[in-house]
């Protein structure tokens, strides 16, 4: 408790008018806690951290923390973050998005940032629904579930955000849940230290909209489901695909080395100035 008091004092904005916008029991707070703990462990200076978000319940996260914070337009957080990072590569740029933000309206930006390997950390709260606008279908809403725009049940199939990130070329991809808070802390920390485009998908819950519509119970009930559905990467590798049906694989899904965009761009600058690089000879 003493530790969390210190973190709250150090990282939360005291001139910001609390209370926050989130419903009691929402998992976004756990994500915020995990992020702050990871940053504190890594010893980043507050001045060097830029926290960028899009629009949604998740997008409201940066306003509460004492970093350089940038609350952009819906889906476009990664593009703003790209500009910040390339303009000042010394900054630690972290992007926080909702599922709609990251893979519906912002899906194109997300995959291209992964492909370019821009040195950003993208943290995505996947609550399978549009929380802020009142529980509409998102690209991660599972087939057959109800939302306020799919009262006759969703007939589309869900994106799997982490697998999408892996395919798009992200060098680090981890998936955790709000329930597995300790794992989440570790994944965020790993993604932060990883040079290049790192992704952490956080499986969360929106008990007030999605949970209510689908009679999934309270926040606690939904967190129990996260526990029940989760299979670690290690375990999953030993299971047959059928056994993984409906399961959520958690842990590190990808961790590889690739030169980051900024390093590559230094080659462009060198060539522009007439330097003949070894690889060009």
């Amino acid at each position: 408790m003493k530790e969390s008091g210190r973190l709250i004092y150090k990282y939360l904005r005291h001139d910001k008018k609390f209370p926050h916008v989130w419903c009691p029991g929402c998992g976004i707070g756990i994500l915020l806690g995990g992020l702050i703990r990871a940053i504190d462990r890594l010893g980043y200076e507050k001045d060097e951290v830029v926290l960028v978000s899009g629009i949604g319940c998740t997008g409201r996260l940066p306003v509460y923390v004492d970093f350089n914070t940038l609350h952009t337009t819906h889906g476009r957080a990664v593009t703003f973050a790209t500009g910040v990072k390339l303009a000042n590569p010394n900054l630690k740029v972290i992007v926080v998005m909702g599922d709609g933000d990251a893979v519906a309206i912002g899906g194109n930006h997300f995959i291209h940032a992964a492909r370019r390997n821009i040195d950003l950390t993208a943290i995505i709260m996947n609550n399978a629904v549009y929380g802020m606008t009142g529980g509409q279908t998102s690209p991660t809403t599972p087939y057959g579930m109800k939302t306020t725009t799919a009262v006759y049940r969703n007939v589309e199939h869900a994106f799997r955000i982490s697998e999408l990130a892996v395919t798009a070329g992200a060098v680090f991809v981890g998936r955790g849940t709000v329930y597995h808070a300790r794992l989440l802390d570790q994944l965020i920390e790993k993604a932060l230290v990883k040079p290049g485009f790192g992704v952490v998908e956080v499986v969360g819950h929106c008990h007030t909209q999605y949970g209510k519509l689908n009679r999934l119970g309270s926040a606690v009930d939904m967190m129990r489901m996260q526990k029940g559905d989760a299979v670690t990467v290690e375990k999953a590798s030993k299971l047959a695909p059928e056994a993984l049906e409906g399961k959520v694989i958690i842990g590190v899904l990808m961790d590889k080395e690739l030169p980051v965009y900024q390093e590559q761009y230094e080659k462009v600058r060198a060539r522009a100035k007439g330097t003949v690089l070894v690889e060009d000879q």
Binding site: N68, T72, T79, V84, L86, A87, Y265
Partner: protein
């Protein structure tokens, strides 16, 4: 506009779009994000070569929405930034242009206009985006829009666009028609040290005292740069003086009024035009962009025939040059407004004219430039 009179600098044959790129570099632009589109592509191509030479950054984004987001991000991190596009891309940029207005982030957006709507006429000139530049993004907002008529103008006005954007913390839009963008002229580029460059004012108070959106006499708060020690919140939500979202009428109203006041208060500085034989003109042509060139020829011809014609070339399109046009309207008998659209600026002229002079429109939307002869004909008609 400042004309450089002394014969110094670099004399080169340049295209309008290339001159835009040169102007951007001279103004200190070191970040460009864009997506290829005719007839604006040359701006990207030139900057992709020159920016890395200067340790700047060029990036081709996945679309124009991303380009606009990236330049706002780069500007917040302290680097002067620009993007360039044409109609379809300009439409995609609108939401984030509004963000730059709201969060007061300096940046320059060049739109080399082609015929529209939609994909329209990719390789033909138009001036169809004048109103879009003014009102393209949603919500009540001020904006600054400039338009050059010559290749040298492309250079000067791009510099001016950066200076205004930095001075007033606002996106500035440069509208160019395809004719000017692709025209080649031999011009004298001023030596870099003679280009007047304005950099944004940054806070000097201790970071704990910094109130990022606090009003002052100029209406333009000093801008903290990400990473410089001034940590604050930037949002597209309507915010209080600290940058935090607000829903309080007593905070919303002063914010909105300041956004407008910081532009209105500086009308004198922002309004740029060029008068040609206007002092005693009975028939005044009000034109902009490539059409102003045709108009100049027509006015010369008319003068040769003894007609008191004159030209006022609008460089600043928005905020509209009310004072200057009012003055001309109360002196001239006829105002002729030729434009490559079906009457976007003529509506503004009629509005400020208030019935003083008679306003004659001359419009073309067939993808061709309005010729000097067409304007001369209108002048002759009016002189009868």
């Amino acid at each position: 506009m400042e004309a450089v009179t002394e014969k110094r600098g670099r004399e080169i044959l340049l295209q309008g779009n290339e001159a835009v790129a040169e102007g951007a570099l001279a103004a200190g632009c070191r970040f460009f994000a864009g997506y290829p589109i005719t007839p604006a592509t040359e701006i990207s191509e030139v900057l992709s070569v020159k920016l890395p030479e200067l340790d700047g950054t060029f990036i081709q984004m996945e679309d124009e929405i991303a380009s606009m987001g990236a330049i706002i991000g780069a500007s917040l991190a302290g680097v002067k930034s620009m993007t360039a596009t044409s109609g379809p891309g300009f439409s995609l940029m609108q939401e984030n242009i509004g963000f730059a207005c709201m969060a007061e982030v300096p940046c320059v957006v060049v739109n080399v206009m082609r015929g529209g709507p939609s994909t329209g006429l990719p390789t033909f000139p138009s001036q169809g985006d004048v109103m879009q530049a003014r009102w393209g993004t949603h919500g009540d907002h001020p904006i600054v829009v400039l338009t050059p008529a010559t290749v040298r103008g492309c250079f000067d006005i791009t510099v001016m666009a950066f200076n205004f954007s930095e001075k007033y913390r606002t996106p500035v839009i440069v509208l160019i028609d395809e004719v000017v963008g692709h025209m080649r002229e031999k011009i004298l580029l001023p030596p870099t040290e003679e280009v007047r460059v304005f950099d944004r004012i940054q806070p000097t108070v201790p970071p704990e005292w910094y109130i990022p959106y606090e009003d002052n006499a100029t209406g333009v708060p000093p801008m903290g740069i990400f990473g410089s020690g001034y940590r604050y919140h930037v949002t597209g939500l309507t915010h209080d003086v600290r940058g935090f979202p607000t829903q309080r009428p007593d905070e919303i109203d002063p914010f909105m009024r300041r956004l407008f006041r910081k532009i209105v208060q500086h009308f004198g500085d922002l309004q740029v035009g060029e008068a040609f034989l206007i002092e005693d003109a009975q028939i005044a042509v009000i034109a902009y962009g490539a059409v102003a060139r045709s108009a100049k020829r027509a006015v010369k011809e008319a003068r040769a025939r003894g007609i008191r014609a004159g030209l006022f070339q609008l460089v600043t399109l928005w905020p509209f040059m009310r004072k200057a046009v009012e003055g001309i309207a109360s002196q001239a008998r006829v105002l002729i407004v030729p434009e490559m659209n079906l009457g976007q600026i003529s509506r503004e002229v009629k509005r400020v004219n208030e019935g003083k002079a008679s306003v004659v429109t001359l419009n073309r939307v067939d993808g061709d430039l309005i010729t000097p002869d067409e304007i001369l004909e209108k002048i002759m008609e009016a002189s009868r």
